[in-house]
């Protein structure tokens, strides 16, 4: 369990990092918190020729919370982001989701942007980013661009990031005061990747779901938006059991869950409806 040989480079600026990525492209891997990359290297599941360590780029450590929302630089650790979000809005989706990301020691090293860039389909944060309409900011040789999370996540460990681009931050827009969040996941042990999870939000006005977003993780190759279930809930009263039933039926129909050697699609579908029920319960609770 020792990594294959690689060259280690630690640029001091974003520009220098991007230049290295431009030079080495797919041969390079970016090291931020290392909580996924290091084990993958050790198991030789990946063997990049170049390791670009961005931990010396001080500019990427910034996080900001303001009227527009939350911004996390590429070196913001899960634990720091969690503390900041909790202080701002304890009911926020990220405040609910981040404690489920692995264990505390891992959250002190692992980064928000690292989780997004890795795009593990069973991870919490990609689903949260899609649910929150977050934007991922990329720096490349031609400058910077922003992609919506929905456009960013393409498939199993694959994103729209080009080989010469670096994820430099993520921007989470502030949602209106009528927004209610919901998050839950099913895992055998605390801190495990979920068998299935659900990140959700709803715009609730006068007890009525004006709009909602339901994003499952562990359900497919990337975060899965349950659009039919969303449609079933949209416009319904929060306590409309029939609408809940229609949404559950829609979830069962629309989730094309990948066959899973361990848990099977049938079981995961059962979890999907159970999670939906729990999430609606969270929406109903005072937030």
């Amino acid at each position: 369990m020792k990594p294959a040989p690689f060259h280690y480079l630690a640029p001091a600026t974003v520009e220098a990092a991007v230049a290295l990525l431009a030079e080495h492209g797919d041969e390079a891997a970016v090291l931020a918190g290392g909580q996924s990359l290091m084990p993958m290297l050790a198991l030789r599941l990946t063997a990049p020729a170049i390791l670009v360590d961005i931990n010396r780029i001080g500019a990427l450590e910034r996080q900001s919370i303001d009227a527009a929302g939350y911004s996390f630089g590429a070196l913001v650790r899960h634990a720091d982001a969690w503390a900041a979000v909790r202080a701002d809005d304890p009911a926020h989706l990220l405040a609910r989701a981040l404690p489920h990301v692995a264990h505390q020691a891992i959250r002190h090293r692992g980064t928000i942007c690292g989780s997004l860039a890795l795009a593990d389909p069973a991870a919490e944060l990609p689903a949260c980013a899609v649910c929150l309409d977050a934007e991922i900011e990329l720096a490349g040789p031609a400058g910077r661009r922003r992609l919506t999370a929905d456009a960013f996540f393409e498939g199993l460990y694959t994103t729209a990031r080009r080989p010469d681009e670096l994820v430099v931050g993520v921007h989470v827009p502030r949602l209106g005061p009528d927004t209610r969040f919901g998050f839950d996941e099913v895992a055998r042990r605390h801190g495990d990747y979920a068998i299935l999870g659900l990140a959700a939000r709803a715009l609730v006005v006068d007890g009525c779901i004006k709009d909602c977003r339901l994003v499952y993780f562990g359900a497919g190759a990337r975060p899965v938006v349950a659009t039919a279930a969303q449609a079933a809930l949209k416009g319904a009263a929060l306590d409309d059991g029939h609408a809940h039933g229609r949404a559950a039926a829609a979830v069962m129909g629309e989730l094309a869950i990948d066959p899973d050697l361990r848990y099977g699609a049938t079981y995961k579908r059962q979890l999907a409806t159970a999670l939906l029920k729990r999430i609606i319960g969270q929406w109903k609770a005072p937030q």
């Binding site: 020792k2 055998r188 159970a274």
Partner: protein
């Protein structure tokens, strides 16, 4: 117990003392195998089989040998001149099929992970780089993975030369089983599936071997449970006298049975060290641990139980299959698991008749071997589940059923239906103690109220008999060189402190502390004045190490007698010096005192005189102040212990997740030398039992490819998921020894999975769900059972 100290406040025996060594281990100052480095050492990495079964057509290592930092790349052809192949033979298992096994593959592979070639390089990383450069061409052969399919007529053969995948067959029958079932008022039956799991020691297996050609001496450091056994087999396999082989086990981070075998990769390392004349280090990484440490269990058992109209158990009848993997592990054989699983069926109860049959089969998977509580958890789960089913069928309390049927020989002894000799048991006392510990009536009311409120709760019980401290008859009569005796050497240093050396092994369980406590009381010195060394074959006496819960029952007895011998020598020496009859003297807390407890001379002063001023003694007095005691129990093949466990679980009706809310154990391990450590042994064992019940599984696909190569896939029970474990004790002394201690290390594992299995089924029954008889109890299985209404009503 012939000593005034026992039971007194001065006694160390019976005192809860934390392990002295814990201080160093917790401070990160332990010295585990990988902390030991030698000049000129090279690091080993293995090319392991990527497929379950194949013939090797070409194995080309020249490119790998040219890889940077590589010292050598070795195959079986290189090792064969200095190393023997072996077969696992045992007269205890008549007809045991024994295919030849080599440290590196000899032209074919029979399981994923089997070592094929060995790279030695300047670092482990460089060695791994070179492994990737080895060229291997193979022809895959059909593999057999599913144990129940291994004996089918068209099943592929793991070892074609054997003509069958049958390794061994167990059969035993007592009484008239057919008549018992014919006359039964109630018969319950079930098909049980026990999946594979493994030990997952915190410190992985590892070995460092150095050969000194000028002396012909092999020096080995190993993370191992029985360095003396390893010394013997390394001598045999490498054709060296045992005096030319030294094995040292330094701090060992857990064993559980994983580290009691002779592994092919470890033998290869020693052979390579001999071949190269350079030290070779191998430390298994987690991937290697999971695929090549011994796995455990893997049984399918169909069993039934006959009960008469009065609720008395009449007979048990079981037929099983155990899959042991590609080979029967050397030197003890993997078949011990089935032997114990069958022999301990029904062990807590009086049964007039019993029948047990089992096929032990080879398959293209990792070897299985003796894991904590060998075989017992299987028998316990089968027996206790059937007893619960019978109680439910009769509509009565499962504890009433057990109480009525317990086999307690009182002051005598008797045999269980499947042939275990039992005595000094306390089932009823343990059950009484358990009910008190649980506050059972109130607890049952609380469970009922919470069920009313919609919770899916289950309460399960499992009584057990665990055979411990195995005697020399078992392996001795089998012709297998396994020490069931242990020896303690003890001497007085010139400052009056004691130097002790034990043939037992310390793996983290606290045997060292317990032995020191016994020695302290036996001699009459403070425990802090005793330095105990274990795990060194060069200086320590030959003996058993750590297996079959022997530390207290065998090691403790050896320590007691060694201590008493030394005490006699000390008092005789003091008597000669003080010109006082020895009988008028006593040794208390390091002082020789008279009958009035007045100090006459300190042990330190006496020792100083013996070592440096021996001329002070009267002519003809030559005090030795050093003893050895070799203890072998002359009666009883094993010492039975007993107890009962209970589990309270909560099922999630939406996800099938099982949450353990509380666990209780009452155990009788005879005299308890250290209640703190005994309790923690039980708790650790329970955690491994809960792991088996809910989490741990070495998964293979149908083609025998291994699926769980990391601890993200192999689910070890973690602190967050474990309940509080309340432990109570009943102390029924073993009458065949001075201390009366019995084994304590494995009882926790013995019945924990059975208690959880019964608790989950109790919860399922409470909501009209189906039955489960397969572990681990995965969430999909539990959810399906929750939704199963076929047994409703």
């Amino acid at each position: 117990m012939p000593d005034r100290l026992l039971g007194s406040t001065e006694a160390q025996i019976g005192a809860s003392r934390p392990r002295a060594r814990s201080r160093a281990l917790l401070a990160g100052r332990g010295r585990y195998l990988d902390d030991i480095n030698l000049p000129r050492q090279v690091h080993a990495a293995f090319l392991r089989s990527p497929v379950p079964a194949a013939v090797i057509d070409r194995l080309e290592v020249s490119a790998a040998a040219r890889s940077p930092g590589v010292v050598a790349v070795l195959t079986w052809a290189d090792l064969a001149p200095v190393c023997q192949a072996w077969r696992t033979l045992s007269a205890a298992f008549p007809g045991l099929a024994a295919p030849e096994q080599t440290p590196l593959a000899n032209g074919r592979v029979t399981s994923v992970g089997e070592p094929i070639a060995l790279v030695l390089a300047a670092s482990r990383a460089l060695a791994e780089d070179a492994v990737a450069a080895i060229e291997l061409d193979w022809r895959e052969r059909p593999a057999v993975g599913v144990a129940t399919a291994a004996l089918a007529a068209d099943a592929p053969l793991v070892h074609p030369e054997l003509g069958s995948n049958l390794a061994w067959r167990f059969a035993a029958e007592t009484g008239d089983v057919a008549a018992a079932f014919a006359s039964a008022a109630t018969v319950v039956e079930e098909r049980f599936v026990f999946s594979r799991h493994t030990g997952v020691t915190l410190e992985p297996r590892g070995i460092l071997a150095a050969f000194e050609p000028s002396e012909g001496r092999l020096e080995v450091w190993a993370s191992h449970q029985m360095p003396h056994q390893l010394q013997l087999h390394l001598g045999e396999l490498l054709e060296l006298a045992m005096s030319q082989v030294r094995v040292t086990a330094s701090d060992v981070g857990g064993g559980f049975g994983v580290k009691m075998h002779v592994y092919p990769d470890e033998v290869a390392v020693c052979a390579a060290a001999r071949l190269l004349g350079r030290p070779v280090k191998f430390v298994a990484d987690r991937l290697e641990s999971l695929m090549s440490d011994i796995h455990a269990r893997e049984h399918v058992i169909e069993a039934r139980l006959a009960v008469d109209a009065e609720g008395r158990l009449l007979a048990i009848d079981a037929k099983g299959v155990q899959g042991i993997g590609s080979h029967s592990v050397f030197p003890r054989s993997s078949t011990v698991e089935t032997l114990m699983a069958m022999r301990t069926l029904g062990a807590p109860y009086g049964l007039a008749a019993a029948r047990a049959q089992a096929d032990v089969v080879f398959q293209n998977k990792a070897m299985t071997g003796q894991y904590r509580s060998v075989g017992h958890p299987i028998a316990c789960a089968v027996t206790e589940r059937l007893v619960d089913m019978a109680a439910r069928a009769r509509g009565e309390d499962p504890l009433a059923m057990r109480r009525r049927n317990y086999l307690e020989p009182g002051d005598g002894r008797c045999r269980t239906a499947l042939g275990l000799e039992v005595f000094d048991l306390s089932h009823v006392a343990c059950l009484d103690r358990l009910e008190a510990l649980m506050g059972l009536p109130a607890l049952r009311q609380s469970v009922a109220a919470r069920r009313q409120a919609g919770e899916v709760l289950g309460l399960g019980f499992a009584a057990f008999v665990e055979m411990t401290a195995t005697g020399s008859e078992v392996y001795g009569m089998a012709g297998v060189p396994v020490a069931a005796a242990d020896t303690i050497q003890l001497a007085v240093e010139p400052d009056g402190s004691l130097k002790a050396s034990a043939s037992l092994s310390e793996l983290g369980q606290g045997t060292d502390e317990g032995l020191v406590q016994v020695l302290a009381d036996a001699v009459g010195v403070a425990p802090e004045r005793i330095g105990l060394e274990m795990g060194r074959t060069a200086s320590g006496p030959h003996g058993g190490g750590a297996w079959a819960s022997r530390g207290a029952a065998i090691g403790g007895e050896a320590a007691w007698h060694a201590g008493r011998k030394l005490r006699g020598q000390i008092l005789a020496a003091a008597a000669a010096l003080l010109q006082t009859p020895a009988a008028a003297l006593d040794l208390v807390a390091g002082c020789i005192v008279d009958a009035q407890r007045h100090e006459r001379i300190t042990l330190a002063a006496l020792a100083r005189t013996v070592h440096f001023a021996g001329h002070e003694f009267p002519q003809g007095t030559l005090p030795q102040l050093q003893v050895a005691h070799h203890y072998r129990r002359e009666a009883d093949i094993a010492i039975p212990t007993n107890g009962i466990q209970a589990a309270l679980v909560q099922l999630c009706p939406e996800t099938g997740l099982v949450r353990c809310l509380q666990h209780w154990v009452v155990h009788d391990c005879g005299r308890i030398i250290n209640p703190l450590l005994a309790g923690e042994q039980v708790r650790g064992g329970v955690v491994q039992g809960i792991g088996a019940a809910l989490f741990e599984h070495c998964r293979y696909d149908a083609q025998a490819n291994f699926l769980d190569g990391s601890l993200a896939d192999y689910l070890v029970p973690m602190a967050m998921e474990m309940p509080d474990i309340a432990v109570g004790h009943v102390e029924t002394l073993y009458r065949g020894s001075t201390l009366g201690a019995k084994g304590a290390g494995e009882a926790g594992t013995c019945a924990a999975s059975a208690a959880v299995l019964n608790a989950v089924n109790d919860a399922l029954a409470a909501v009209g769900g189906g039955r489960l008889a397969e572990i681990p109890l995965t969430p999909p299985l539990v959810l399906a059972a929750l939704n199963d209404r076929s047994n409703a009503g």
